[in-house]
C-alpha cells in the first residue's frame, strides 16, 4: 500500500518538473485540433447556408419539411436499431441478419397488400387492412427471427464471439438470396391506402400524410417496449440476463426463453418497421433490407449499443442527419448535388461520435470491439 502511494507521489513530482506543454498528450492535441476544425467547418457551412439570399434562400418551411421527413425516416431506423440493440444487450452479438428480418416482414405483408389493393379492400377498410398488414409483417419477421435464433445462433452460443457474427452475415446472405430466388429480384410497388395518400397542411408547412403516421406509430411502439422492459417480469428477466447470463440462470431464470423473447421482440419491431418503410417509400424488394439494416446498425452504435433509449435517439439523429444534413452543411458552399453526399454526412457523424464517445451517446463510455 505505502509502496503504491509512493509511486503516485513520485509521478506527481515528475509532472511538476515538466513544462506545461510537455505534459499535453498527443491524443489530446489531435482531438482538440479536430474539434476546432469540425466546429469551424460545420459552423461555417451552416452559417453560409442560412444566410443565402435571393433565389437560393431556403426558408424555415423547407427546414421544417426536411425535419419531418428525417424524423419519419429516423423512426424506421430506430425501430430496426432496437432489434440490433436488444439482441446485443442479451447475447453480446451483432445480428447482421436483422436487415433481412425487416425485409422479410415487409415482403410478407406485400402479398396481402397487393391483393387488398386489387380487390379494393385496402381503400374500403383501410384501418382493418393496415392492422392485418402489420400483423402479417410482425408474424413473418418474428417467425424468421426465432427460426434464425434456433437454427443458426443457439448452437453457437458458447462459441467465440466472431463465430456467430460470421454466421449472422451468412444468414443475411442466405435470406436475401432465398427471397430473390423465390420471389424474383425486381423491386415491387407497395400500395398505400388512399386515406394516407396526399399531403396535409399544418400552418404554412405541408407534409406527406404518411410521415406523421410513421412518427406516431414508432413513438407508441417504443413507449410500449420501454414499458415491457422496465415494468414486466419478463422484462426484468431480460435485464438480468443482459447483466450476467450465468448468474441469471443460477437465479432460476430460463435463459433460452429470455433469448427467444428477445428475438420475438426484435422481429416484431422489424415487422412494424418493414410496413412503415414500405408505406413511406412505396416499394419492397429482396435487397431492401441491406441499406436500412446498415443504417440502423449505425444508429444502434451511435446511440450506444445495448441501450434501448440509445437506439431510439441514434435512429432519430441518423434520420434527421440524412435528410437535413447535406443541405444544411453543403448548400451554402456551392457543393453540387448535396443529396448524393448524405452517406458521407451520416457516416462522418458516426466516426466523430465514436472518436469522442467510444461507447456511443448513451453507452457505457468504453469501446466495444466487434
Amino acid at each position: 500500500m505505502s509502496n503504491e502511494e509512493g509511486e503516485v507521489q513520485a509521478e506527481v513530482a515528475s509532472d511538476q518538473r515538466l513544462g506545461r506543454f510537455e505534459r499535453l498528450p498527443v491524443r489530446r492535441i489531435v482531438l482538440t485540433l479536430l474539434t476546432v476544425t469540425i466546429v469551424v467547418a460545420v459552423g461555417g457551412g451552416i452559417f453560409k447556408t442560412l444566410t443565402l439570399t435571393g433565389v437560393d434562400h431556403l426558408g424555415w418551411t423547407f427546414w421544417a419539411n426536411l425535419l419531418v421527413i428525417g424524423l419519419a425516416l429516423g423512426s424506421v431506423y430506430a425501430l430496426i436499431a432496437l432489434g440490433y440493440t436488444l439482441v446485443y444487450g442479451i447475447l453480446r452479438m451483432i445480428n447482421f441478419a436483422h436487415g433481412e428480418i425487416f425485409m422479410a416482414g415487409a415482403f410478407g405483408s406485400f402479398f396481402f397488400a397487393a391483393a387488398y389493393a386489387k380487390s379494393g379492400f385496402l381503400n374500403a377498410h383501410p384501418w382493418l387492412a393496415l392492422a392485418i398488414l402489420f400483423l402479417v409483417a410482425m408474424g413473418v419477421s418474428t417467425g424468421i427471427a426465432v427460426l434464425l435464433e434456433r437454427v443458426a445462433y443457439r448452437p453457437l452460443r458458447n462459441a467465440p464471439r466472431l463465430v456467430p457474427l460470421i454466421t449472422a452475415i451468412g444468414a443475411s446472405l442466405f435470406l436475401q438470396n432465398s427471397f430473390q430466388g423465390f420471389f424474383g429480384s425486381q423491386t415491387r410497388g407497395y400500395p398505400r391506402p388512399s386515406l394516407l395518400d396526399g399531403t396535409i397542411k399544418l400552418g404554412r408547412v405541408s407534409f406527406d400524410k404518411i410521415d406523421p403516421v410513421v412518427i406516431a406509430t414508432a413513438i407508441v411502439v417504443m413507449i410500449g417496449l420501454q414499458f415491457f422492459v422496465k415494468r414486466t417480469k419478463t422484462g426484468k428477466a431480460m435485464r438480468a440476463v443482459a447483466q450476467d447470463r450465468e448468474i441469471a440462470s443460477l437465479m432460476g431464470i430460463d435463459v433460452d426463453r429470455v433469448v427467444v423473447t428477445t428475438f420475438v421482440l426484435g422481429g416484431m419491431l422489424a415487422g412494424i418497421a418493414g410496413v412503415l418503410y414500405a408505406l413511406t417509400f412505396g416499394q419492397v424488394g429482396a435487397t431492401m433490407g441491406f441499406l436500412p439494416g446498415i443504417a440502423a446498425f449505425t444508429a444502434a452504435v451511435l446511440g450506444g449499443i445495448g441501450s434501448v433509449p440509445g437506439a431510439a435517439i441514434g435512429g432519430l439523429i441518423l434520420g434527421v442527419a440524412e435528410s437535413v444534413g447535406p443541405y444544411l452543411l453543403l448548400s451554402g458552399i456551392n457543393v453540387p448535388s448535396p443529396f448524393e453526399l448524405k452517406g458521407v454526412i451520416t457516416f462522418s457523424i458516426l466516426v466523430l461520435v465514436l472518436i469522442f464517445r467510444p461507447g456511443g451517446i448513451l453507452g457505457t463510455g468504453e469501446a466495444e470491439k466487434v
Binding site: 431556403l58 429480384s185 406527406d208 416499394q283 435487397t287 431492401m288 448535388s337 448524393e340
Partner: protein, 441 residues
C-alpha cells in the same frame, strides 16, 4: 454419431453434384473450332480470324441483355424481339426457327446487369467462347461503354445494341470499331424532350436528376444544352445513387425553386419511385415530371401505379415505325402469343432489326466448305454490317454509319402516362419529332 452420418451424406451429395456439373460443362462445349487453317477459300490469317461452324452444328449468336433484376423487363423485351427475328427467318411466326446459311442458330444468353460490372462479366464469358459469331447487346449504355464494346471488339465479335443510347458509344474517339446499334442516339432524344418542354409545356425553368450512369448523364447533359439554347434556365442538376429509394428530401429541395419541369431520365425503380414520391411532395403541384425510355417498361407502372399518371415519358415512337403494318398486325400479335403479355418495353423491334442485320451480314459473308462446315471471317462480317444501306427494318430505314449508328433518322415520341407505348403499342404520343443525326451534331 447420428450427426456424423448426416454430415457424410451431405458431403457425398455435394461431391456428386460437383462431378455432375463438371460433366455437363464438358458435354456442352463440343462443336466446331476456330481453327483458321481448316478454312479453305477464306483468308483467316489476319486477326481476329474466322469462326468455323462444323457441319450440322448451329451458329451461335450471343445476347448480352439486362435479363434479371430491376431492369429485367428492358432486357427480356429485347431478347424476345431477337428471338422472334430468328423465328421469322422462315417467313412466319410459328415458333420454329428458320436457318442461316444452311445452319440452325442458337442464342447464348448472358446478363448485362445494366451495369459496367455486369457488362464486364457477361462480355468476358461471351468473348471466351470462340463460336460466338455476333452479339445482340447491351441493354444499358453503362454495360457497353468502355466495357462490353471493348472486350467483345478486341475479339472481333460484332456487337449490335438494341437499346444502349448514350452518345459517347458512337462518338469518334470512344466508339469501338465492332460496335453498332439500332437504338437511337440520345443526342436526338434529349433534343426532342427539350423541344417538347419548351414548345408544348412552355417551360421556362427545369431541374435534372441523373444517376451517374452514362445513359442518364448523356440525356440530362443533352437536355441542359438544348433547353438553355432554347431560352430555358436549369435551376438545379442533381445526382442520385442507382440504389437510392428515398428521394423525399431531394424533391423537397427541388420544390424550393418550383421549376416548370423536372427531367429525371433514370432507370427503374428510381424513376418510378421519383414519380411516386413527387406526387406527395408539397410545392411540386405545378411541376411536370419528364422521363425517358429507361423508365419505359412494365416495372414503371407496377411500382408507381396511378401516382405516375400525367408524367411524360419519351421514347421511340412505336406508331411511326415504317414497318408499321407488319409491326401491328404480325409482330406484336406473335409477341403476345409467344410470351403471354403485351411488349414489356419499347426496344423489341430494335432488337428484331438488330438480329436481322446481323443475320443478313452472316448470310453475305459465310462461306460453305466442301465438308458442309461454315467459315465466317470476322472482319468481313463487321464490314458487311457496316455496309448495311437502306435496310427496310421494322423501326425504319436503317443505314449503318462508320461511327456505329444504324438509325440515322429517328422519330421520338413523348407519351403521357398511362397512354404509353410499353402498355399499348398503339398508344399515340402527345408530341413527336423526327430528327436526323446531322441536325443534332
Amino acid at each position: 454419431m447420428k450427426r456424423r452420418s448426416l454430415l457424410v451424406v451431405i458431403g457425398a451429395i455435394s461431391v456428386m453434384a460437383l462431378v455432375a456439373s463438371a460433366c455437363s460443362n464438358d458435354s456442352s462445349s463440343t462443336g466446331g473450332s476456330t481453327d483458321s487453317a481448316s478454312a479453305g477459300a477464306v483468308d483467316c490469317s489476319t486477326a481476329p480470324g474466322c469462326v468455323t461452324v462444323a457441319a450440322g452444328e448451329p451458329i451461335q449468336i450471343g445476347t448480352l441483355l439486362s435479363i434479371t433484376g430491376d431492369t429485367k423487363n428492358l432486357g427480356l423485351d429485347s431478347q424476345y424481339g431477337a428471338t422472334l427475328a430468328l423465328d421469322y427467318l422462315d417467313g412466319t411466326f410459328d415458333g420454329t426457327q428458320g436457318q442461316v446459311a444452311g445452319h440452325d442458330v442458337t442464342m447464348v444468353n448472358e446478363d448485362d446487369g445494366c451495369s459496367a460490372d455486369g457488362g464486364q462479366k457477361g462480355a468476358t464469358t461471351l468473348a471466351a467462347n470462340p463460336q460466338i459469331v455476333g452479339v445482340i447487346g447491351t441493354s444499358c449504355s453503362s454495360a457497353s461503354l468502355g466495357v462490353a464494346d471493348k472486350i467483345l471488339g478486341e475479339k472481333g465479335i460484332v456487337t449490335i445494341s438494341p437499346s444502349a443510347t448514350n452518345p459517347a458509344l458512337t462518338t469518334e474517339g470512344t466508339h469501338q470499331p465492332y460496335y453498332f446499334r439500332t437504338a437511337h442516339n440520345d443526342r436526338i432524344q434529349a433534343a426532342v424532350v427539350s423541344d417538347f418542354a419548351l414548345q408544348k409545356l412552355s417551360a421556362t425553368t427545369g431541374a435534372t436528376i441523373h444517376d451517374e450512369s452514362p445513359y442518364t448523364q448523356g440525356l440530362t447533359d443533352g437536355f441542359k444544352a438544348n433547353f438553355e439554347a432554347g431560352g430555358g434556365q436549369i435551376t438545379s442538376e442533381d445526382a442520385i445513387g442507382s440504389a437510392d429509394k428515398d428521394f423525399k428530401s431531394l424533391l423537397t429541395r427541388i420544390a424550393q425553386n418550383a421549376p416548370s419541369v423536372i427531367y429525371a431520365p433514370d432507370f427503374n425503380p428510381a424513376c418510378a419511385l421519383i414519380a411516386k414520391q413527387k406526387a406527395t411532395t408539397s410545392g411540386l403541384e405545378n411541376t411536370t415530371l419528364l422521363g425517358s425510355d429507361g423508365c419505359s417498361d412494365a416495372t414503371y407502372t407496377d411500382i408507381a401505379g396511378p401516382a405516375a399518371d400525367g408524367v411524360y415519358l419519351s421514347g421511340p415512337d412505336l406508331t411511326a415505325f415504317s414497318g408499321g403494318d407488319f409491326y401491328k398486325s404480325e409482330f406484336v400479335p406473335a409477341y403476345v402469343d409467344q410470351y403471354g403479355s403485351q411488349p414489356l418495353s419499347v426496344f423489341h423491334a430494335h432488337a428484331f432489326d438488330a438480329m436481322n442485320i446481323l443475320v443478313n451480314a452472316i448470310e453475305a459473308t459465310a462461306v460453305t466448305n466442301d465438308d458442309g462446315s461454315l467459315t465466317i471471317n470476322r472482319v468481313a462480317l463487321r464490314d458487311a454490317v457496316q455496309n448495311t444501306t437502306d435496310y427496310q427494318g421494322v423501326i425504319g430505314t436503317l443505314t449503318c454509319t462508320p461511327a456505329g449508328d444504324c438509325a440515322t433518322s429517328v422519330t421520338i415520341g413523348v407519351y403521357k402516362v398511362p397512354d404509353v407505348g410499353f402498355l399499348d403499342p398503339a398508344a399515340k404520343p402527345v408530341f413527336t419529332e423526327t430528327k436526323t443525326l446531322d441536325q443534332v451534331k
